[in-house]
Point group: C2
Chain length 252, copies 2
């Protein structure tokens, strides 16, 4: 294991030069794409939505992954869907009423499981054994598992972050550290990628981790295309998107 010290690099640069470093390539080491991803069919990304789900943590990564369809050329893009426990209407934290595509009973097998934060991510949802069991089973079967904001609490409670470095919403990091003291919580980063898991601070930063995943899966050109449609410069200038990428099998 090796942790890429992007945050330290950015901090040192700021100390030395008092401003952001000039743009020059991606701000992290590239991790090879998982070998088991299919190439002959679209990747399926499923977003778990429950009552109280936060709009931004759902929509930001949803848009990034969905927009790949316009940029991957001959390669299969990412298809997206929403899944609620019972398949019935969900009301977001901010009051948007969303009709999901599936319930737990008929959700398809996912390549990418995404868990946005919800109002109950730190309490009510953690007591919902049906929910945690579905996240555990679906996450185990997926190639990637992503959380935004306090969705990390749900992933952690479902055992998806065991042995991983991870992050969550800054204001809830102390609570996360108390609740899951065995996990390697990383602070002051937009997101953490460790193995098959990607965890994000959330909020408006929810775009970052999804852009990173697109770059990881399809390369910088496709990510830049997706970013162009959402006015997100790609690659980001070094220092602008602090992240921790744990490179598997790198020794150390």
């Amino acid at each position: 294991m090796k942790t890429v010290p992007i945050v330290l690099f950015a901090a040192m640069f700021l100390l030395l030069f008092g401003c952001a470093p000039p743009a020059a390539g991606p701000a992290w080491e590239r991790v090879p794409t998982e070998a088991d991803l299919p190439t002959d069919r679209p990747l399926l990304a499923g977003f778990l939505i429950v009552d109280g789900v936060f709009n931004s943590e759902l929509m930001a990564p949803y848009d990034i992954l969905q927009h790949t369809v316009f940029h991957t050329g001959d390669r299969p893009a990412i298809e997206v869907c929403t899944i609620s426990p019972d398949g019935e209407l969900v009301t977001s934290f901010e009051g948007i009423r969303i009709l999901p595509d599936y319930g737990f009973h008929n959700a398809p097998r996912l390549d990418i499981l995404v868990v946005p934060s919800a109002e109950g991510s730190m309490d009510r949802d953690l007591e919902n054994q049906e929910l945690l069991q579905w996240v555990r089973k679906t996450g185990d079967g997926a190639s990637y598992v992503m959380s935004l904001c306090d969705g990390a609490f749900v992933l952690a409670a479902a055992g998806q972050l065991d042995g991983r470095s991870c992050t969550t919403f800054p204001g809830d990091q102390d609570r996360f550290a108390e609740t899951f003291p065995e996990l390697n919580l990383r602070r002051d980063v937009s997101f953490v990628h460790d193995g098959k898991t990607m965890t994000s601070q959330g909020g408006a930063k929810s775009y970052d981790v999804a852009m990173y995943l697109v770059d990881h899966l399809y390369g910088e050109k496709v990510a830049a295309g997706v970013g162009g449609g959402l006015i997100i410069p790609w690659p980001p200038s070094p220092g602008s998107m602090p992240a921790v990428v744990v490179v598997p099998g790198a020794g150390g």
Copy 2:
């Protein structure tokens, strides 16, 4: 009229110093809050949603305005709602199915009209006279009118941008200039505020203009509170959020 040359300032600073200037207060002049906003009831912001509406352009400003309820203290916050032409289910461009709160027939009077971009903003929606008529009437009655991305085409076609400076999605600015040559299109800015109208480039930049409106209405402290919940630093460091603010009645 006076245009605050924020873009020029930022560009000059970058040329001179090769990096972003240090953080120091807001990046634009403050414009006094419109006198006719009520103080004894919540402000009502209505988001026009049609089939093909873009998620980010809806959700980013929706979240910013809705989250004011946690930060305005004794002052009335902003209430948000969605309005579709017939009040029936809308499917977003990315495939999210949204049940709106109102249709044109029963929508309440709005203080703030928000028009996110949709797949048909540059063609189909501009031929929909019922839609344009509703935007015209509702915008005329509102204290503020905001567009995100190509929502500016709809506002312009409904006469809401007459005599105003404005902006839209970068890739569609040439088309906007050809379609509405009499309007003062501004390029290379995140948003433009001119009188009662606020127009945004859209995409992930859709947060910027909504944060600005919250600051404009409630001040920097409330905006910083809203920003904290969505991990948007506020005030933004000068140069990070180029904008044009046309100050009414400032001579020149």
